[in-house]
């Protein structure tokens, strides 16, 4: 329980600072609403916020599932084929040099204003960190394990499944934690470019109508959603991470 205390103290401090800025500068509420106003709006609009949160959550989860699957498959094929490495690595690096955000309008054009374009945006953002982390782990199998496998006359497929993949799980775990942080960003960017629902859409809408308190309420909801998602993924991958400590 004790580890939960510091975050609450930090949050309390941030809220106090926020409130004191408002008191000292007397800034209008459409520029910066007070914490109390935001909380009040959040409570009053909870049904509206919940509705849009659900949309964004679905985009994030579908994006995560698709992006992580593609990332894992790519890493596995890169790790098991020299030809795939030679052909795909430059492309992978090049796609990372492109600002993914710039693709958002095109994705909306191609996939429409619905779920598709947001999922695609999330997938684009998640794909590289997962691929890169898992691939890295797959290529860093301790040489001793591979030597042992060779003297045991292991089949190449067994080496991949029984040694390289389990040894790379801690790396995959760090890729998954990153993807949990990136997926909401992708979904929200997708919503900013073109959407009729979702937290990103709600934030834009509220901002346009000078309902800054609602904008903040949606923003905090998104933040909490991301943190909860990260904590869940972290928890789920903890077992794998622990293994890395016992690796030689």
């Amino acid at each position: 329980m004790r580890k939960f205390i510091p975050p609450f103290i930090a949050a309390g401090f941030a809220i106090a600072l926020w409130q004191s800025i408002i008191i000292m500068t007397d800034v209008p509420r459409f520029i910066l609403p007070s914490p109390a106003t935001v909380a009040e709006t959040w409570w009053k609009s909870r049904a509206l916020i919940a509705e849009h949160t659900l949309v964004t959550l679905i985009e994030i989860l579908v994006g995560l599932a698709v992006g992580v699957s593609f990332g894992i498959l790519t890493a596995l094929s890169l790790a098991s084929s020299q030809t795939a490495r030679v052909l795909m690595q430059p492309i992978l690096v090049f796609t990372q040099a492109l600002p993914v955000f710039a693709l958002a309008p095109i994705l909306t054009l191609w996939l429409g204003f619905g779920l598709g374009s947001k999922v695609a945006m999330s997938v684009l953002i998640i794909y590289f960190p997962v691929t890169s982390a898992f691939f890295d782990g797959l290529m860093r199998t301790p040489q001793g394990y591979l030597d042992l496998a060779k003297t045991m006359q292991a089949r190449p497929r067994s080496v991949l499944w029984h040694i390289r993949v389990p040894a790379a799980l801690p790396s995959l775990a760090s890729g998954l934690r990153l993807s949990a942080v990136y997926a909401p960003i992708g979904a929200v960017i997708g919503e900013w470019v073109g959407a009729s629902q979702g937290l990103g859409y709600l934030m834009l809408l509220a901002n346009g109508r000078a309902k800054t308190d609602l904008m903040f309420a949606a923003l905090f909801t998104l933040g909490i959603l991301s943190v909860v998602l990260f904590l869940i993924v972290k928890r789920l991958t903890e077992r794998w991470s622990d293994r890395s400590r016992s690796l030689i």
Partner: protein, 243 residues
């Protein structure tokens, strides 16, 4: 298991054009322990890896022959200084790892028997990180025995253990590896003096054979002949044997 063969390795090895060993001629007698001593970097491990069929990074020009004319690699079991236990698998699964990698039927009765022989029965379901260094090497020994190979290559497998555990492991390994052609690469003159049927010291100048102490191995840690042989080997290693 086929009968343990005699292995003869002759030839020259170099790394990036720099000779590692030249005109080497080493024979590992069938069913006995051959101990190879020497400082780091003279090519002991390279030699062992050549027999195992593993990558060495060295260019080897020579031959590795056996008394039954079959190549060594499929008959080799290998044990290194690190136990190489898979951290995600239990001790029992690790002992059975070779069968799993070859897609063979798992022989759990044999695993139980081997775990009993190395004294790890009660630790069978534990993960490697829950074991002590000595227990981990015993699990690695059980895995090596599980392979049921006639050639055993040991690359300093006991060097990271404390003195007492090391002596215990030497006794246990010697007992369990009887009848196999064992090649032990070691830094420790005491280990070579206790276990070797044949002892060789490798240096930049080549390989020098040393007569093993009298008496059957494993020789007592306090045996006077063994201690004398240990001292002589130490002198040889220090390069002042003729001083």
């Amino acid at each position: 298991m086929t009968d343990a063969p005699t292995i003869t390795i002759t030839g020259t090895a170099q790394i990036d054009g720099v000779p590692l060993f030249t005109d080497l001629d080493l024979s590992l007698p069938a069913g006995g322990w051959t101990c190879l001593l020497g400082p780091s970097g003279v090519g002991k491990t390279t030699l062992l890896r050549l027999i195992a069929g593993l990558d060495t990074g060295a260019a080897f020009d020579g031959t590795i022959t056996t008394s039954d004319a079959q190549p060594p690699p499929p008959r080799v079991a290998y044990m290194a200084q690190e136990d190489l236990l898979m951290p995600w698998a239990s001790v029992a699964q690790n002992v059975n790892f070779g069968a799993k990698l070859r897609g063979e039927v798992l022989d759990t009765a044999r695993v139980d028997d081997l775990l009993d022989r190395v004294g790890l029965t009660e630790h069978a379901q534990k993960k490697p990180h829950e074991l002590s260094g000595g227990q981990r090497q015993r699990a690695a020994l059980a895995r090596t025995l599980m392979e049921d190979k006639s050639i055993i290559l040991l690359d300093e497998p006991f060097s990271a253990l404390d003195a007492r555990t090391r002596a215990d492991m030497q006794d246990l390994a010697y007992k369990l590896l009887t009848g196999k052609t064992v090649f032990l690469v070691t830094h420790d003159p005491a280990e070579a003096a206790r276990l070797g049927h044949a002892i060789h010291v490798m240096s930049a100048d080549g390989i020098q054979s040393v007569a093993p102490p009298d008496g059957p191995a494993p020789r007592g840690v306090d045996d006077i002949n063994t201690l004398k042989a240990q001292g002589a080997l130490m002198q040889l290693l220090r390069g002042d044997a003729h001083a």
